[in-house]
Amino acid sequence: MAVWLPQWSIRAVHDQVADGAPLILVAKGVVVACSSTAAATGVTGGLRVREAQLRCPEATVLPHRPELEAREFEPVLRAIEEVVPGVHVVRPGLAAVRAQGARRFYGSEHLAAQEILHGVRDRVGGDLRVAVADGLFAAEHVAYTTDAQSPLAVVRSGDSPRFLAPLPVSVLEQQVESIRMPGLLRRMGIRTLGDLAALRRADVHARFGDDGLLAHRLASGEDTPVLDVRSAPRDHTVRIDLEDHTTQVDQVTDLCTAAVDGFVRHLTQQALLCHEIRVTVELEDGTAHTRTWRHPWHFTAADVLDRVRWQLQDLTSAAVDEPLAHAVAGVSIVPESLDPAHHHAAGLWGDRPDEHVVQALTDLQKTLGHAGVLTCAVGGGRLLDERRILRPWGDALPSPRERRLEQPWPGNLPGPAPATVFTRAWPVTVLTDTDQPVVVSSRGQVSGAPTWLRLPEGRPATRRITAWAGPWPVRQRWWQPTDSRRLDRFQLVDEQTHAWLIVAEAGRWWAEARYD
C-alpha cells in the first residue's frame, strides 16, 4: 500500500513563498522540481536554471534541500503510523505500509486505504493519494495514475502484472542500477513492461545480469521488498539533577556515579558503543558549560566519570580540591556518536594498548591532571609547533585526514627535523658584523650577512655565526586580512656548533627550534 503526496518537494517549502506563486527548486544548476504555476509556463525538471528563469522570470528559485523535505515529511509519517503501524519511507513524499495486516483489521484493502486517506488528511491536509497493489513498485505506479478527484486506487491481488504491462520500460530507470538498460530495451523493440515480462526470465538474466533479473521481476509484478520499518532513533541522554546544589567536585561525581553506570550498562545492553559524549554542566546561576569529549576506543563508566570530573576541575581553574564558584545544579551526558558493538570487536592481536598500560596511564593522569599525560602525532603545517599535535591521553588524536600531512605545505623545512622545537619561541637578536640588526626586506633581501647571534640565556650569550642560510619565506594565510603571517626563516650554526632555526617576523627575531 503506497501513500503518495504529489509535488512534495514543492509543498515542503511552500511556506517560503506566497500561495500560487511560481517556485523552482534547483540543485547543481539544474531544475529538480517546479510548482504547477511554473510548469504551466514551460518549466520542466532537468532544465538549466537560466533557461527556466527565461521561461518563467517571476518564479522564485530556491535550492533543493532533501533534509528539509525529510523533516517536513515526519508529521505525515506519524499520521500514517496512527492508522497502520510500520511505515517504510521510500523517499520524502512517498511512504509504504504493508497492506496485509491493515486489510485484516479494517475488513478490506479499500477500507484501510480510506482510513489512511482520512487520517492523514485530517492531520496534514492537502493533496494525498493512496494506492494498493501487489508490490511496492506496482503500488507506486498505481498511485501515479490517481488524480485529486479520485485519490484512491486499488489493484486487486494478482492484477498487478496486467496493470504494469502497458507502462513504458523507462519507468525502470529509477529501479535498476544500469543507466543504459531501459534505452537498450527500447532499441531492442521491448517498449513496455508487458513485452519484458513476456520474455523468459533466464534469457533476460543472461543478457542483463542482476539488473535484468530485477527488471523482469518488477515487470511481472513480483516485487515483494522487505519493508524496513522506520524506527525513531532513541534518546540515550542522561540527566542528573542535583537536588541540593553542591560546590564540591568529588560530591558531584559521586552523585553522578549511579546514573553513569546505568547509562553505560544501558548502552551495553543495546550492544552499542559510544566514543564521543557531550557533557553539559549546569550551574546554579543559569549558565551551562558544554564540552565534547572524544575517546580513542569507547567510553566505560569510569572514563565518563573522569571526563565529568575534569570538566568540573576546569571550571575551578585552580587547585584540584578547591570548591566551585557556583553550585552545580545538574549534569547531562549526551552520547554523540554511537556504534554497534560488533563493529568494534577487538582483533586477535588487539588494536588498542594492553590493559595494564591503559590502567597505569589513567592512574597517572589522575595525579598529574588530564593534560599531564599526552600522546602525539605529526600534522600538516608550516610552523614546527603547528606540526606537533599533542592530545591528552584518552582523547582521540585527529584522523590522518584531519591532520592534512600529505598536503603540500609550501615553505616547509628541508633536511632532518630539529629535535627541539620550542613551545614558546625564544626572543633572539641577529646582528651583522657592524653590530647592526639584520633586516629582511619585503623582497627577501638581507641587509647584511648574519654574523652574531645573541641568545636570552646560555654562555656565551653572544656567539659568532659560522654558517647560515636564508631567508626562506613562509607566508601563512596571506589571503586573510587578520590571520596572515609573514615570516622568514634562517638556519644558523654558531661557534659552539649549535645549529638553530631562527625566524624573522616584522623586524623581530625568534628561535623556533634547535638542532641538537
Binding site: 594498548p353 598529574l368 605529526v378 656548533t497
Partner: protein, 229 residues
Amino acid sequence: MVSELHELHDLLERRDTAPSSARLPVHPDLAEAFPSGLRAGTVYSLTGSTTLALAMLAGPSQKGSWCAVVGLPDLGVEAAVEWGVDLDRLILVPDPGVGEWSRTVATLIEIADVVVTAPCRIPPAELSRLTARLRSRQSVMVVTGPWPRAATVQATTVGWDGLGHGHGCLLRQHVRLDITERHQTRSVCLTLPHEATPQSSPLASSLRYFAGTPAVLPRPSSDTSRGPR
C-alpha cells in the same frame, strides 16, 4: 620443589645488584656506539644531544616497546618520527613537577622499556628504589643531564654538513660520543642521520645537490667516522 627453587634462584638473580646481561636493541645508526645494544636496567646520563635521545628510543620502539619522555616539553615529535619512533606507543609527560617526578617515572618504567627524562633532584632513598625498580623491570632510563652512578654518554657536535654562507641547508650532523660504561671509556664518531633524507621528499633532488657541495665546516678527522658518500 626443584622448580620452586629455580624460581627463587631467578628472583634472587633479578634482585641481585649485578647488572643483567639482557640488552635492548638500538637503531642501526647507533650500532657502532652501542655494539651490543643498550644494557637493560641501567641509567644512561646523556649530555649534549636530544637527537641521540630520540635515536636511543627508536630501536626498542621499532621492536614494539612502549616509550616515554618525561619533562621535555620542547621535544620535536617530527624528529622522533624520522628516527622511526612509533608515536602510537610514545607517551609524553611534559611537566611532571618536582614532587611527582619519581612517582611518574616509576609508573612509566612499569609500562615502557625506555624512559627519556630530564634530570631531577631526588633523595638518595628514592634514587635507589628507582634503580632497583629499573633493574627488576629490565628497562632503560636515559637522563638528559648528569645523574649519579650512571653510564655517561657525552655527545659533542663536531660539525654540520650542508650549510654554507647564505646557501645550502643542514643535512647531517657529525657527533663524537664519549661513552663511559662500567668504568670503560670509548669514543665513537657518528654521522646523524646516516641515511640521507627520504627520497619521497619533494626536496630530495635539491638536497642531493646540496650534499655535493663542499662542506665549509671541519670534518671529523677520526677514521671511525662514517663520512658522507
